[in-house]
């Protein structure tokens, strides 16, 4: 219960960190990122998505590790494993349901469409 980060109380530090990251998120959406995005050779929307995704990951881990006690306690190891157990099934679901689209035959690569069987 008395874990610390950099000498300060872990809950407080976590709280401040989360607030900061969220502020960055909101700012990233509100700010005009157009010129920056061109530098990365992508649209502003893509850049925003990247920023949001990258920030969401540490936020996710901070809440799980500190608020949900998956870090530094006696039972953290096995409970982390428990929490990660559905990962495989989530990946399958996202791959099979989320990322397949119903174009069917027109979505086939050219080499397996009718007329090109001879390779």
């Amino acid at each position: 219960m008395s874990k610390t980060i950099m000498g300060k109380d872990a809950y407080w530090m976590n709280f401040f960190g989360l607030m900061l990251l969220t502020l960055i998120e909101v700012a990233a959406v509100g700010t005009d990122l157009g010129p920056t995005a061109e530098g990365f050779d992508m649209t502003e929307r893509q850049l925003t998505l990247w920023i949001l995704t990258i920030i969401a990951i540490p936020k996710f881990m901070m809440i799980a590790a500190i608020f949900m006690h998956l870090w530094g306690e006696n039972d953290s190891g096995i409970l982390t494993l428990t929490a990660l157990f559905p990962a495989f099934f989530i990946i399958i679901m996202v791959l099979f349901i989320g990322l397949t689209h119903p174009e069917a035959a027109t979505g086939l690569p050219a080499w397996c469409r009718p007329g090109t069987y001879g390779l």
Binding site: L81, F88, I97, L108
Partner: protein, 772 residues
Amino acid sequence: MERSTVSRRLVLISLLAMAMIVVPAVTSLPSGISGVKDTGCNCHGTEASPSVTASISGLPETYNASETYAVTVSFTGGPSTDGNANLGGFNLWASDGTLATLDSSAQLWSPNEASHTTEGNDQRSWNLEWIAPDSGVDVEFILHTNSVNGNEGDSGSSGDEWDRAQTTVLGFGPNVLPDADPFKVLATLIIISTVLLSIIVLYVFYRNNPDGFEWARFAPWITEWLTSTDHKKIGTLYFVQGLFFLGVGGIMALMIRVQLSSPGNDFITQEYYNQFFTLHGTTMIFLAAMPLIAGFANWIVPLQIGAPDLAFPRLNALSFWLQPVAALLIFTGVFSGAGADTGWTGYAPYVVSENTHAGVSMWAAGQIMLVASSTLTGINFLTTIAVMRSPGMGWFQMPLFTWSILVANLMLFLSIPAFGVGLIQVYLDRTIGTGFYDVAAGGDPLLWSHLFWYFGHPEVYVVIVPAFGVISEVIATSARRSIFGYKSMVYAMAGIGLVSFIVYGHHMFTSGMSPTLRFVTMLTTMLVAVPTGIKIFNWLKTMHGGSLVYRTHTLWTLGFLVTFTLGGISGMFFPSMAMDVHLHETYFVVAHFHYVLVGGTVFGFFAAIYYWYPKMTGRMLDERLGVLHFLTAFISYNALFWPMHRLGVVGMIRRTHTYYITTDDIQALPEWAADWNMLISMSAFLFFASNLLLVVNMIKSLVRGEKAPADPWGGWSFEWMTSSPPPTPSFDPHNLPMLKDANEHVANEPGRLGQMFRRLMVSDDAPEEGSH
């Protein structure tokens, strides 16, 4: 007729009628035509012609019972002119009563249908007789007349024009009742069922203790059952619910089989067929198989792992009570003739179409509750098995039935949220009008198939894996030796569980889903045969090394091995995409999944009933009745489902309410298909009747069965150490049984991977935190 069997005659009669319906274009003009009451004389032109006027005269406004009326049908106009070779023809259809001809100008196709003959095709009016029915219902007449120009070319049908006339003769009796208010019907049914249920409950209460019968004891007794959180009582409730709905689903199957026993049958209408067919599937999977699994799991798992009860007894009670309420919702529509008619898969976009019956919303709502129930069951069993094994019982000392429940619940638990989300989407689409599956708004029907089968495929393993567990227990006990290859059995089940999530796409090969996904699921589906094969060979090897004792449960287990293997083999045709495209919509699929679900799951549970019934009730079942049950059921079951393979291969379509046969090779099924269907239907009745033997056996042994010892079969897992029936709580919480494995050996030492996992776990020698 050389073979004067009933079915043969039926075939011939139906053949005559059906051949006409199916191919109206072949038998055309001169000799009259049947089966055109809905389509019209469409070989003479797709639309009725305004220049022809058909009329019926001689019919009364209201008829008298059994009176004979002279009817004249005629037409005017059209190309029919005097001097033509032919003038015209007619077809008259009456919904009731009997038609009769007066001369050779007209002929009867059936008592309800008449048309002209070759001789009668050069006139414009025909005389007939109609004998009124004595039922008093309204009778509808549909007349088609064809005005012909008498040409020879183009089968003589070009240039002809036709018309349709329709009239209704009122019956003398009370008119057909207006459509009932669904809520009144439902209320009536609820009241009737409540009264029936109360009577049964009172009788059970009386039988419970006939000598000490006293009304004052009734309230506590019934409260105990309604509120109990004891795993054994809840198990019994599940068990009763499961068997009840097994019967209900069976009766629906019988209705379906009567309808399909002969081609073109109209025993139940398409409308009702669809409802029975939908509810048969939903009932059997969700309200019969799943509660039976949950019943056995509730009863046996805590006993097998030496736990006093489940981890969350109140949640356990909640998972049960959600089920009967959900069942009521699922059946809501059918009481008022508006039950779900989507098939148990409820494919989008039809499931959200306004053309479906109103009951579909409640069918979805009921299943949402079942999803909640299964989720709670999952939490309970996963936690119980993970944390409440008795001291000394490691993961690899758990009995295989407990393992099977663990694997099944893991699969169910992780897959059913997808189904729940899909159902909520459907429910919201049908209620508040969201657009998830609205194709016009860009909704994707395939999404439903994905969500459904992401759950649905693990689900079919959820119902078979516990049967594997039962078979492993029974075969080891009966062969008087430990199961062959215990670890490989566990890994095989876990493998089936893991792979089940990747293979679900094989249900959707013909749906137009992503081709890449099709390829992946095709390969992984074939992979399923490997762990399943391992299990089969392990069972065979267990028998090979043991000395088998033939009890009823052993017979069912042997039956399971045969039928499940056959079902597994027929299953191996589907992963091959090209094969699947041919077989997908045929009875071959019906045969396959009934072979694995009935021959697998149900046979497994019959074995379980014969095996554990003495433990659950403290009474032995009658072995002679049991063997009779097995023999009759096994034979009739195979006669019921085996012919479906053949019907499927020749292309009998599933999901439809009827089928047609013909001598024409291409048009429909061959003639012998009707014979086989008749055999299937008769076997279905036999199979149903044979299972009543089980019910009789159970009731009989409850009333005056032989008292069961603690361990009647010589089993050695924990449940046989308690008395029959077991005490409550099942084990003294302060004095739990301790497992000491005589075969403890070096194989239980963890490998490198095991050591890695072990580091993440709380070790055995961690200090006890607090007390309990």
